[in-house]
C-alpha cells in the first residue's frame, strides 16, 4: 500500500508525459472530427456550372450513397486528387457531386473540360457561405452521404491507398 502511494505521483507524471508525447508526435491536429457526422446534409441551394440543371441543392443528395467533393482550381491538392476521382467514377459507378469553393466558375469549367468531369452536378459556392454550413476548412474535402446523412468526411487529398483502406470500406458498408 505504502509503495503504491509512493509510486502514484511518478505514475501520474509518466501517464501525462505519455499523453503529451502522443499528442505532439502522433496526433493529427489538422483533422478535426466533424460534428456533422450522422446528421442530415445542411440545406443549401446553389447554381450549377453546367446544364441541363440550373440548381444544385440538398435534395439532390438524398437516397442512395453519394459522394460530395468540395474543391477549387486554386487548390493544388485538389488538382492532384483529380485523376483518382476520375478513376473512382469510372470504376465504381458511385454518383459524385461537387461544389467549387470560392473559385472562378470559368476556371473550374475549363479544368473539367480539360481533365474530365466525374460529377453529375457542380455547384458554385463563390462566397463560401455553404462551406461554413458544411464545416469546410481545408479543401479538398470529400463527404460520404447516405440516405441524405453525412456518414464520413475525408479531409485533404486522397491517394490510391487512402481510397482502398479508408474510403472504400466505409462506402461498401453503406452501399
Amino acid at each position: 500500500m505504502k509503495l503504491l502511494v509512493k509510486c502514484l505521483p511518478v505514475a501520474l507524471i509518466c501517464a501525462l508525459v505519455g499523453v503529451l508525447w502522443h499528442q505532439l508526435f502522433y496526433a493529427h491536429p489538422y483533422e478535426i472530427p466533424s460534428p456533422l457526422l450522422s446528421r442530415p446534409v445542411p440545406t443549401f441551394e446553389l447554381t450549377t456550372l453546367h446544364g441541363p440543371f440550373t440548381t444544385f441543392n440538398n435534395k439532390d443528395l438524398e437516397g442512395k450513397l453519394k459522394l460530395l467533393v468540395y474543391w477549387a482550381t486554386w487548390c493544388s491538392a485538389c488538382r492532384e486528387e483529380h485523376p483518382i476521382l476520375m478513376k473512382i467514377s469510372e470504376r465504381y459507378q458511385i454518383p459524385m457531386y461537387s461544389i467549387i469553393y470560392k473559385d472562378e466558375p470559368a476556371a473550374a469549367k475549363d479544368w473539367l473540360a480539360k481533365h474530365g468531369n466525374p460529377y453529375r452536378k457542380v455547384g458554385d459556392d463563390n462566397k463560401g457561405d455553404v462551406a461554413i454550413d458544411f464545416g469546410v476548412y481545408g479543401t479538398p474535402e470529400i463527404y460520404v452521404i447516405s440516405e441524405g446523412k453525412i456518414v464520413y468526411k475525408q479531409i485533404g487529398a486522397i491517394d490510391e491507398a487512402t481510397w482502398q483502406d479508408t474510403l472504400l470500406p466505409i462506402i461498401n458498408q453503406y452501399r
Partner: protein, 151 residues
Amino acid sequence: MRRLGKTHYYLLLINIVKLAYPMLKQSSKIVAALLLACICQFSFAQAPYSFNNPKQAQQFEQLTQEVRCIVCQNQSLAESSAPLAKDLRKKIHALILANKTNAEIKTYLTNRYGEFILLRPLFTAKNSLLWFFPFASIFLLLFYFFWPLKK
C-alpha cells in the same frame, strides 16, 4: 587572435550552407508549416465593421478573440487573416447584427466546426479532466507534502 580574412568568411559561409542544406531539404514540411504561419501572421488591417451600438462592437471584439481560426489553429479569429477567418468574422458580424447572443453564435459555430473552434474548452463532464487536473495535481502535491508516510 589572428584576424579573420575574407577566405575564412567564405569557408564559414560554405560550411553553414553545407550543414543547413540537408536539413532544409528534409524539412520541407516544416518550411510549409512556417509559410502557413507567415500567411496567418501578416494580418492585414481588419475590414471595418459597423454596428448599431457600442455593445455589439464589444461583443464582436470578445467573440472573435474566443473563437479559433481552424486554419491557423493556435490563433483566434481576431488575429488571423486566413480567408476562412475573414469569412467567419463576416458571419459573426451578421449574426450579431441579427441580435444573436454569444451563446447562440457559439452554438452556431460548434454545430459546424465542433467544439475545437472554441479557444476556451466548454465546462462539461467530458472536459472535466481537463478542467480539474491542475487543481487535483496541486491538491495531490499538498497531500504528499503534509501527509508524512512515517508512523
